[in-house]
């Protein structure tokens, strides 16, 4: 797959390296000439100097044949515009934006960005692993479908412990996808699987049902 990364900051650099390592064709766009020099030293011939929000730059970068555009600059407005130009001018199949202000999630979804990745929420996910609270953490949004991928840890005293997945009455549109057990074993959510304390549950849900889902999975017996 051909992927264009807009923004060569710390996130863009690490992302480009990871995508190259997984065998994709990648191009990293960076507007600042000095930063471009640093990136080229690090990444080689996959760095392109230019404004990733500008149609002319995206055209030269081959956006018309790109499968994915990932906008990961530190400015939400730039990420939004890069995704919109990619989508509407070049018909890029999948646009993914980093959002720095969690409040912007709705507007990005409304304006046709396919997925948003929210650094604040990811950091929150890290923190919640170390805190004795169990909120539902949104990992990824699929905007076209109005669905969120969320993550929740089952508290040791939860009512649902011991229940089979097929016996849970989840809110409509919510599906449990994966269970990660305390010893890091990953299991696909089959109907016969019973929940245990400290299991981590990865589920797909409508944003409006997130609270109900959390209630079911975390409330004490």
């Amino acid at each position: 797959m051909y992927m264009i990364v807009v923004g060569g900051g710390k996130v863009g650099l690490a992302l480009t390296q990871a995508l190259l390592a997984s065998g994709h064709e990648v191009l990293c766009l960076e507007i600042d000439p000095h930063r471009c020099g640093v990136l080229t030293e690090e990444l080689g011939s996959v760095v392109f100097r230019g404004d990733g929000c500008e149609a002319a730059t995206l055209d030269e970068a081959g956006a018309a044949r790109a499968d994915v555009l990932l906008a990961v600059t530190g400015d939400d407005e730039d990420n939004l515009v890069a995704c919109q130009v990619a989508k509407h001018r070049f018909k890029v199949g999948r646009t993914i934006a980093r959002i720095n202000n969690p409040k912007n999630k709705t507007i990005f979804q409304l304006l046709g960005v396919d997925a948003t990745v929210n650094s604040t929420e990811i950091i929150m996910a890290q923190i919640t692993q170390e805190l004795p609270v169990h909120p539902l953490v949104a990992l990824l949004s699929f905007s076209g479908m109005g669905l969120d991928l969320v993550h929740v840890e089952i508290p040791p005293d939860a009512r649902v412990i011991g229940q089979k997945l097929s016996d849970l009455s989840l809110p409509s549109g919510s599906t449990i996808a994966l269970i990660i057990e305390a010893d890091k074993t990953v299991r696909l959510a089959t109907p016969d699987l019973a929940l245990r304390g400290l299991d981590e549950v990865v589920a797909v849900t409508h944003p409006e049902n997130e609270d109900a889902l959390r209630e079911i999975l975390t409330s004490p017996a």
């Binding site: 929000c53 407005e77 130009v85 202000n101 507007i107 304006l111």
Partner: protein, 138 residues
Amino acid sequence: MRVVIMGCGRVGSTLAAVLAEGGHEVTILDTNPDAFRRLPRNFRGTAIVGNGIDEGALRRAGIEKADAFVAITQGDNRNVMAAQIAQRIFNVPRVFCRIYDPIRYEMYKELGVETLSSTIVMSQLFHEAILKAPVRRS
């Protein structure tokens, strides 16, 4: 009319002053409080420090009851993002934004965002002025 203006640069402050003078209820937003020195001393509107791509700041500026919203900061991307928030989230009936880049301007026009490109407008004005100006001979 209730008007919210984002960006208190030369154009933003002039527009705010003219509208307020004409009896309209104007609120002007800028991230930099120093920008408000461009407003006339007797400015009758409201000036608020805040970022127009932040929904909270827009609410504080009274976007929910606004009849018109104008995004006129130096940043094209910030302007189109704010304009789209005003249009799609707050359903402001009249929304305008400035875009310098002519290509982006074309695209957002196609997407239904009311935009003015000062680059295009200015070059047209100069073009007309050059063609129409009487030839001066010394």
